[in-house]
């Protein structure tokens, strides 16, 4: 395998391909308490994020719909898996952490949260034009949790 090929495969890791082919928590959440749209005007990616927050401020369930590239769908799928069960404050911290990782590469650990799977997104940082694909779902989650009415946009 050439170096270039291995770099491409660093971006399109098996976990990313798996989540893009078989996205988890895909579909509308009927009992959602929070929703937001995320759009990436450059790519035409469109996601709708659904979150059900319980009385204690805990995210009981999540879902998403929409279409996009492998990176944006996989990131949304990984996001729903990561934040389901977390308190909204911790989910917000996750949004910040993922955005930081994707843009600067600096990593922090968040106590009590398993961010291991998100390492699959590490390769995206080397593709400036694709970082927005990976952050889209996280921006939309942030917008949903803050009851923002305008769609979250990567622009």
């Amino acid at each position: 395998m050439t170096r270039q090929n291995s770099e491409t495969q660093d971006l399109y890791r098996e976990l990313i391909l798996d989540h893009s082919r078989n996205p988890r928590h895909f579909g509308k959440l009927e009992n959602a308490t929070h929703t937001a749209d995320g759009i990436n005007p450059l790519c035409g990616d469109k996601l709708k994020i659904y979150v059900c927050v319980g009385a204690e401020g805990c995210i009981e369930s999540t879902g998403f719909e929409g279409s996009g590239c492998a990176i944006s769908v996989a990131s949304a799928s990984l996001m729903t898996g990561t934040v389901t069960g977390l308190h909204v404050d911790k989910a917000e911290a996750c949004c910040m952490e993922v955005t930081r990782r994707l843009t600067s590469g600096n990593k922090s650990e968040l106590a009590g949260i398993d961010l291991d799977k998100l390492r699959a997104l590490d390769g995206v940082r080397h593709y400036p034009s694709r970082v927005k694909c990976a952050t889209l779902a996280w921006h939309a989650l942030h917008a949903a949790l803050n009851n923002e009415t305008a769609p979250a946009s990567t622009e």
Partner: protein
């Protein structure tokens, strides 16, 4: 194929473009995105540099040597443009920042003062946003209506349906000469014939026409022809609005400023003559010098020769693409320029673009600033390969190989 050898020594043309002699991600660059922006030959780069090093001053006003030289270079480029598209006079060549500004100029100067509620502007469904949004703006400002002529599944304008839309309320027709997203060569001449009979002006968005076709605006008969320098191997930030002199003469200035006036007092300003009436402010002199050099380059080869070479290469590309299982060509008009959109399996075009980039192959992905065309065809975007005179069969083979690698990754 012998046709290639007969038509053109492409290897020689390729060597004229310094940017192509590089590797990207360890592979020689195969640049297949000229429809977005064409690369510049060394003669253009050198002409701009020489102007900056030796001749630069402001145009039209200095009494000293450098200003004369700058003015000569700038106005000399205008003369080349007259010749390049066979305009009737240099008064018909307004230099702009690009196609977008050219179209906005017509929308705001010709249409805005004269459009009434209920009037119609007709465009086609395959237009670039630059030939949609300026008309939408002026329609909002005046209460006029934007009417869309349909396209078929092959990406061709449905001519009869378009002609049926033309009526007494039609104020102007705007249409692409060549679709940037689909490569369709549109039936401009036939539309012009019908419009002329009713005295309706036609603006042709020629951004994708000038790099591929031998343009003769008098033969085409259109009233306006808008195009950009950077699609035809010149610098970005340069463009042209060709307009029939009588129409330009009757239009008020669009932007006010220096250069577009003869005399200014606080009571009254007397506007300059054509074409300067539409060129407010210091223009992109160096860029226009580069555009002039690009025209010299194209004319030295000859547009018919370029078109013939591109057609042969386009046919080769389409033939090779069709051999790939899972390929779906988007835009299969009978008359096409060397632009081909496609989809591969269910791989998103941005994923495809990234994987191809890693093979050194540069293509455009997404909606190509033609979202309505994408919506009409029921897709969110495409991958698009566009061929210019500096491409060769090796570039196409590299594209095909890279698509094969993408299939492997997403298998």
């Amino acid at each position: 194929m012998s046709a290639v050898a007969q038509v053109a020594p492409a290897a020689d043309w390729r060597a004229d473009f310094p940017v192509l002699a590089q590797s990207v991600h360890g592979h020689p660059l195969a640049y297949l995105d000229s429809a977005a922006s064409a690369q510049q030959p060394a003669c253009v780069i050198d002409a701009v540099a020489r102007y900056q090093r030796e001749d630069h001053a402001n145009v039209h006003r200095g009494v000293y040597t450098l200003s004369h030289r700058a003015t000569e270079a700038y106005e000399g480029a205008r003369d080349k443009i007259v010749d390049f598209i066979n305009a009737n006079s240099r008064n018909e060549i307004v230099l702009t920042s690009g196609t977008t500004e050219s179209i906005n100029l017509v929308a705001q100067s010709l249409c805005r003062p004269r459009l009434h509620a209920g009037d119609k502007i007709i465009v086609t469904h395959l237009e670039h946003h630059a030939n949609i949004v300026p008309w939408q703006l002026v329609c909002e400002q005046t209460g006029a209506e934007l009417v869309v002529a349909p396209i078929n599944d092959q990406g061709e304008v449905e001519l009869d349906a378009m002609l049926d839309l033309i009526d007494d309320k039609t104020f102007l027709i705007g249409m692409a000469h060549v679709s940037n997203a689909l490569g369709t060569v549109c039936p401009v001449r036939k539309v012009v014939e019908h419009a002329k009979a009713r005295g309706i002006p036609v603006l042709v968005d020629g951004a994708q026409g000038v790099p591929h076709l031998d343009i003769d605006v008098q033969e085409l008969g259109c009233d306006f022809y808008a195009f950009s320098g950077h699609k035809m191997f010149g610098p970005t930030g340069t463009g042209v609005l060709y307009g029939r002199e009588a129409l330009l003469e009757a239009m008020p200035p669009w932007q006010g400023g220096g250069d577009m006036i003869l005399e200014v007092t606080f009571d009254k300003t007397i506007y300059n003559d054509l074409p300067y009436k539409f060129e407010a402010g210091t223009p992109n002199i160096a860029g226009v010098v580069g555009l002039g050099a690009a025209i010299d380059y194209l004319q030295a080869i000859g547009m018919p020769r370029i078109a013939a070479y591109e057609h042969e290469l386009h046919d080769y590309m389409v033939g090779e693409l069709k051999k790939i299982e899972g390929i779906r060509l988007i835009g299969e008009a009978r008359h096409k320029a060397s632009v081909q959109s496609f989809l591969l399996d269910d791989i998103h075009s941005h994923d495809l673009g990234t994987i191809l980039d890693h093979q050194g192959v540069a293509i455009r992905t997404g909606h190509h600033c033609a979202m309505p065309a994408m919506q009409r065809l029921g897709i969110s975007g495409t991958s698009r390969a566009s061929v210019a005179l500096y491409n060769n069969r090796d570039d196409i083979d590299r594209l095909i190989d890279a698509l094969g690698k993408a299939k492997e990754i997403f298998a």
